[in-house]
């Protein structure tokens, strides 16, 4: 069995005329926490959707566990997805089901477990994220952080080989953020799975990632451990990690010189 779980080669993907990925290649190991980082709008979430087979690339390939995701039939792709968990930014809980039923949903769909066995499993998963007591609540009664923890319990319901996290820390208060950071790290260590975190929250992600890939302009700019990236001499990586306002990524959106705009007689291009 190869140590590489996700192998991306020469990936090209566009939305309309906008190029999102322009020959992106990277490997993600079978175990450990891998992070994909970059500024907003660089296509991090798109990359997760491409890995999960929800989007098709213009060219290039993505292999997960040796299977080319975009060459699989729908049936085979769905079989593969049963071994992939995904935590969406919004949680994506089904709003007409309770917390318990949300976590039970993939088990009811894909297994023939008895009701008592299913109940045990769901309660164990909820206990792992600290929300066993919230089993009967509806998703609308949960805070943002709790919703993500329920979604995490649901993502690991089928004991997947990998879990993809889409911006898990965005918009969280410090306590919820701390809980999520330790949960992701502990679950990854306990289950010995592959965790892929897509995020632009630098300190939190760097605190738990084993390997980080920084992407910009459709390519991997730099890869390495958090320590090596902190010491990076790349001006781009330095600006991103330290959050500098100006640098290779300019403060100003591309525009005509200010004087030219000011001298225009009131008309504008918008």
């Amino acid at each position: 069995m190869s140590d590489i779980l996700v192998k991306i080669r020469d990936l090209h993907f566009s939305r309309g005329n906008r190029k999102i990925f322009d020959g992106l290649s990277l490997d993600i190991p079978r175990q450990g926490v891998s992070a994909i980082m970059g500024p907003s709008g660089t296509g991090k979430t798109t990359l997760l959707k491409l890995i999960g087979g929800q989007l098709r690339p213009d060219s290039g390939s993505i292999e997960v566990d040796g299977l080319d995701v975009h060459q699989l039939s729908t049936g085979k792709l769905f079989e593969l997805r049963q071994r992939m968990g995904m935590l969406f930014q919004s949680g994506a809980l089904l709003t007409d089901l309770s917390v318990f039923e949300n976590v039970a949903y993939p088990l009811r769909e894909h297994t023939r477990l008895s009701e008592s066995m299913l109940r045990h499993l769901v309660l164990l998963k909820l206990n792992a994220v600290g929300l066993r007591g919230a089993a009967e609540l509806s998703p609308s009664e949960l805070s943002g952080g709790m919703a993500r923890r329920v979604a995490l319990a649901r993502a690991m319901a089928l004991d997947p080989m990998m879990i993809m996290y889409d911006e898990p820390f965005t918009g969280q208060d410090p306590i919820s953020m701390g809980v999520l950071v330790s949960l992701i790290s502990e679950l990854n260590n306990a289950l010995k799975i592959c965790s892929i975190i897509v995020s632009h929250d630098v300190p939190e992600t760097m605190s738990i990632a084993d390997q980080i890939h920084i992407i910009s302009a459709g390519k991997v700019v730099e890869s390495g451990s958090p320590d090596s990236l902190r010491k990076s001499e790349s001006a781009w990586t330095h600006q991103f990690i330290h959050g500098d306002a100006d640098g290779p990524v300019p403060f100003h959106y591309p525009a005509e010189p200010l004087l030219d705009d000011l001298l225009l007689d009131g008309s504008h291009t918008g």
Binding site: K49, G52, Q54, F78, E79, R81, Q82, M84, G85, M86, F88, Q89, S90, A92, L93, L94, T95, Y105, P106, E109, H110, A151, R154
Partner: protein, 265 residues
């Protein structure tokens, strides 16, 4: 030159709109095919359908009953005022019954259905898309076409003829209240004339066929608009509006076509 350029722009716009419309029709047709294929799944999961029959059918019942009652009552009044001058007021019953069974039952029910159930379906599915619930299902290896769209589509298709039947029945009762209880027409002639005149095939079956067609089209438009909407609050608002407008126009157009086909001499 300016005139030529303006004309060219108009042609360009017309071409773009036509292409866009055909593109959507193509997407909608493929979507329908996928939904119909996904419907087979409901034989093994009947509870999915039952839940939607309640949401789409039962919850629309009140508005259908109230509207049917008033439409029947108004029709009885209008027919009476028109017929009484010719001494033909005994025909109020048959006039109301035929109007409801052939036209008003299926058409008004379908228009109300598009406004109440259709817009709700679009909003619900659109919101599920906006909150990534549909994507979440896909990533859990669950096909939303089978679990979300197909039960709603089939529920709409089944509910429409039942609702139209109830609308017509309540409408006739409303007409009875006004014609017999309020205006003092003879109860025997109110009921006997429709009994002798209404034809099972020509009037009742054709009405049911119309409501089946309207139900199919209105629910197809509603679920497609929800699934295809731009997942923002503005996109969702536009999709809901499109559902009501397109369904209503499609129902009225199809009513004309079906009437021309069914009642041609």
């Amino acid at each position: 030159m300016v005139l030529f350029s303006g004309l060219l722009n108009k042609f360009q716009y017309l071409g773009a709109v036509t292409l866009h419309s055909f593109q959507r029709l193509g997407r909608g047709s493929l979507f329908l095919l996928e939904v119909l294929m996904g419907s087979a799944n409901l034989f093994t999961r009947p509870m999915l359908l039952v839940k939607q029959l309640y949401a789409v059918g039962v919850q629309t019942l009140i508005i259908i009953i109230v509207a049917g009652l008033f439409v029947g009552m108004v029709m009885a009044l209008q027919s009476y005022y028109a017929l009484v001058d010719f001494g033909a007021e005994d025909s109020v019953g048959v006039m109301v019954a035929l109007s409801l069974l052939r036209e008003l039952g299926p058409v008004i029910t379908a228009l109300l259905f598009a406004g109440r159930a259709g817009s709700a379906l679009t909003a619900e599915i659109g919101l599920m898309k906006a909150t990534e619930q549909l994507s979440g299902m896909e990533m859990m290896a669950v096909n939303p076409m089978k679990r979300v769209i197909a039960p709603r589509f089939i529920a709409g298709f089944i509910s429409m003829p039942l609702l139209a039947t109830i609308f017509s029945a309540v409408g006739v009762m409303g007409a009875y209240l006004v014609a017999v209880e309020m205006l003092g027409l003879d109860s025997g002639s109110f009921w006997s004339q429709p009994q002798n005149t209404v034809d099972l095939y020509l009037d009742i079956y054709n009405g049911v066929i119309k409501s089946l067609v309207f139900g199919f089209v209105a629910t197809w438009i509603a679920v497609f608009e929800g699934y295809d909407c731009i997942p923002t609050s503005e996109g969702l608002g536009q999709a809901t509006t499109r559902t009501v407008v397109h369904s209503s126009l499609a129902i009225l157009f199809l009513d004309f076509v079906l009437t021309a086909l069914m009642f041609a001499k």
